[in-house]
Amino acid sequence: MSGTVQFEGRATVLGDDIDTDIIFPARYLAVLRPQDQARHLFEPLGEAVREQVMAGGVIAAGWNFGCGSSREHAVTAMLGAGVRLVVAKSFSRIFFRNAVNNGLAVVMSEALAGAVRDGDAVQVDLRAGRARVAGVAHEFLPLPGSVLEILAAGGLWAAKTGMTGADA
């Protein structure tokens, strides 16, 4: 496997059932560039949350993260804002696939998500299934190798074409 499957950052903790209207409101769906989408990331939660997310790059959430509309923008807006990892107790299945397909690392672990406190430093090795949260070691079930390959490549398009978004 090539490519990075290790991520670190500082966590912003969110609750359960964070839907995609919270992540990226529908009225901005015609905004296409991830950098532009990032301006509207978590808009219903306020500017302070968005700034914290952008500064830390890691989100820890509860159950059913990404439920609601399956808009791919919810993932690309996070990527545009510098988010590289989402840890949650569970994900909406379509959001989960959108994340993998766009190269956004996701870890589904009730224990790990529950261990993260707002502002904690989080380090994750997706392939090994290991994490450190505020210096404390944790383990989780790694994603299947085929899924990790897509993430490592930077998403499904990149995995299939050998190109990255930066090639465009």
Partner: protein
Amino acid sequence: MNATLAEKVMGRLAGRAVRAGEMVEIAPDWTFALDDGIGLIDQNFRRYGVEKLARPERIALFYDHYAPADTPLHAEMHRIGRALFDRFGLPRERLFDVGAGISHQVAVESGWCCPGRCSPTWIRIRSPSVRWARWAAASAVPRWPTCGLTAIYGSGCRRASASTCRVHCRRAPAPRTWCSPSWPAHRARGDLQLHRIPRSGPGRPVHPRAHDLCNMGIEMGAKFAVVPADGVTRAHFESLGIAPGEMPVPMPAPLTGRSTASTW
């Protein structure tokens, strides 16, 4: 070999038996796109140098989110979609422009989205926002039906939507549900609405109304929804070469404030 319905659907398209957890590449029965997503699709096609599309006759694009376009940016999305169709030589009759109808209704009534078929939307698989689903459930006006399918049927058409009349996706109207003497506490108003959904077109016979409730449940956060299969559904699967087998029958739900397909 025992298999789930999803495995049977995927296996039919893969040409072999497949199991959950496998990565398989298949050609979907249909591939759909919407005006609110065509911009991203076009962007990715350009970014990754896509020059030709597989099975262009099995692609359809619907303009129903920005219909009519209410901003120049939304009009630009429509322009992008039309230009994309021209660029790839896609049949224009598969571009359902403003006024042609709501995607889900058109796809279902056309018979394109049926149980056992795999009809994802282009690039991303759509489902409705919780807000929209709640709104749709709350507005018991016959012209605001839902026509989605459930995830177990492998369809991307899972958004609560309006019918093909000239109704646009604006603010939700005030709920118009009247019950006499009173509405049971354990029933959602959406139940009433779902009972009143008009259906038409060749796709209608294979879509029991309970499918709509499954769809709504999934859209509102359920991971899975299932309804008993009736004879029509079984016959449909058999026509596709899929043995439906013994299907689970949901247990009636207790009166906990949430209704399920099995309660009506």
